[in-house]
């Protein structure tokens, strides 16, 4: 039985349908990640799960019990969960008071409260801040107080809304570590939202892709990142090369797709004549100066159209009949002396191509 589940859950604000027919199942102890672009309805869904708002249709189940319209048990159920908002608000009191409040509201005794607060503050590394006014903390510290405050109540389910969205990279990775720690130490079920696909990949045991208020794919991170169901998901999870073509040959699992008079080999179950899109992640594409053979089945000659540096990585656009984007380290780009207009060879493996039916 799933710890938290929804059946055809929907939410409307006046005439706008923010969520429709959401069916998810979150098992005990798993990290369930909602990924999707801003405005996809992630926050709305988390608020419905935490029973902060009421859905327009459908049900929320907690441990198999329908808790959607249950006014009597609403508080009891909500007290089994904790929700860290995207922009956590701290109460203008000491860090101690902020972390202790959830326990105080539950009528927990003073000694136990003190012990719990000490424990969670040590976990988030803010023990020395216990007497500070929470309003004077930095963004990353506030986020850690918010997580500590939520964990102090020992929730069965922890809901996190974009826990690292407003943080600098160092604070963000600290918070990510913290989430990992919570999972391994307490076995807390976590439902979190993020628009950072890489974060979803790092933390999640299960991912649901939410686009325009609908869950369009659910699976583990491998399935989502390497086998997206459609173009929208593919784009969103970072597949930058989507090439339309037709399957013209088939030999066992190996198919040949013809696109712009070029042939791309891929592994797919689709048959001859099928109109498909070939999805190639930019990091699957390698660049060489000589077209020496490798185990990769796809190799094309082309000219560099553009080079963009992203920190330690460079994004190289190559015109080889169709446009192909490769992600290589900036160091290797320099070693190969890549520049605009230079002729190169691009290669990728047949297994690096994911086929979507058009």
């Amino acid at each position: 039985m799933a710890q938290l589940a929804t059946r055809n859950l929907g939410k409307k604000y006046s005439d706008t349908e923010v969520l429709k027919d959401i069916n998810i199942e979150v098992e005990k102890g798993e990290v369930f990640t909602l990924i999707g672009p801003t405005g996809a309805g992630k926050t709305t869904l988390l608020r419905l799960l935490d029973l902060l708002d009421r859905p327009s249709s459908g049900q929320v189940y907690f441990n198999g019990m329908d808790v959607t319209g249950d006014n009597k048990n609403r508080l009891t159920i909500r007290r089994k969960m904790a929700f860290v908002l995207q922009k956590p608000a701290v109460f203008s009191e000491s860090v101690y008071a902020n972390v202790a409040c959830g326990l105080q509201w539950r009528g927990t005794g003073r000694n136990i409260t003190r012990k719990r607060v000490d424990e969670v503050l040590a976990m988030v590394g803010l023990t020395d801040y216990i007497h500070r006014n929470a309003r004077t903390l930095s963004g990353g510290e506030v986020q850690r107080v918010a997580i500590a405050r939520a964990m102090a109540t020992e929730p069965e389910v922890l809901l996190l809304d974009e826990p690292t969205a407003n943080l600098d990279p160092v604070s963000a990775s600290r918070v990510e570590q913290l989430i990992g720690q919570i999972v391994s130490r307490y076995g807390t079920t976590i439902v979190m939202s993020t628009h950072d696909m890489a974060q979803g990949q790092r933390l999640a045991s299960k991912i649901a892709v939410l686009v325009s208020g609908e869950v369009i794919q659910t699976g583990d991170s491998r399935q989502i990142f390497y086998s997206p169901l459609n173009r929208d998901i593919a784009r969103f999870v970072g597949v930058e090369n989507i090439i339309d073509g037709v399957i013209t040959e088939r030999e066992g699992d190996l198919v040949t797709i013809t696109a712009d008079n070029r042939s791309i080999e891929a592994v797919s179950g689709y048959g001859k004549g099928e109109k498909v899109s070939a999805c190639i992640r930019p990091e699957e594409v390698t660049i060489t100066l000589t077209g020496t053979s490798s185990s990769a089945r796809n190799s094309f000659a082309g000219d560099i159209v553009n080079i963009q540096a992203y920190g330690s990585f460079s994004r190289v656009t190559i015109d080889c009949g169709f446009s192909l984007i490769a992600l290589i380290t900036t160091r290797s780009a320099a070693e190969l002396a890549l520049e605009k207009g230079k002729g190169v060879f691009v290669t990728f493996k047949a297994s690096g191509v994911h086929i979507i039916k058009r």
Partner: protein
Amino acid sequence: MEELWQGLQKAVELIINLDPEVMEVVGRSLRISVTSSLLASVICIPLASLIHFRNFLGKRALINIIQTLFSVPTVIIGLFVFVFISSTGPFGSMGLLFTPTAMIIGQMILVSPIMLGLIISALSGVDTAIRDTALSLGASELQSIVVILKEARYAVIAALIMGFGRAISEVGCALMVGGNIRGFTRVITTAISLETSRGELELSIALGIILLLIALIINVALNRIQQR
């Protein structure tokens, strides 16, 4: 000009020597206004929370009416209370007319709109995320309201002080339902009004200075609170 100068000198003497009559009037003023303000806050804090946190038909209109009553003339409140507690009024038998109790009731009614209005706006000034955070950490509805009141505490205290300022400085209502009886219902403002009409300027000026001092103290307190 000479008269004013002499009045000022004598007034300062009255204050420095802690003149019994002056002190008695000031003490009564403070007692009555503090009592009325405290009683009004006991009613206004929960009532303002109720208005703010509940959605009901005519909420906007009610808040508009409350804000309009910020500047209700004190004599209108005086008249209103008078009608109710005069010997022919519905509460006439209680013998409240021309007593400090009547003055307290009048001032409570007078300051309630200011307190209500300012507390409501103090509560709406609190980030909605505070309420969501409290609820999501397991607060009941009531506990979440207490959290929001706590967050708005400085603005709420400012609202209460504003109410007290209006109570201690009003004259119309105190005169009409208190009757300005010496040693019983005479307060700073009614005393100033009477003594001035009798030409006893030094006592009026002394009381005026004290009233201004009280106003100054209130203002300093308000400023300090608002700076938090």
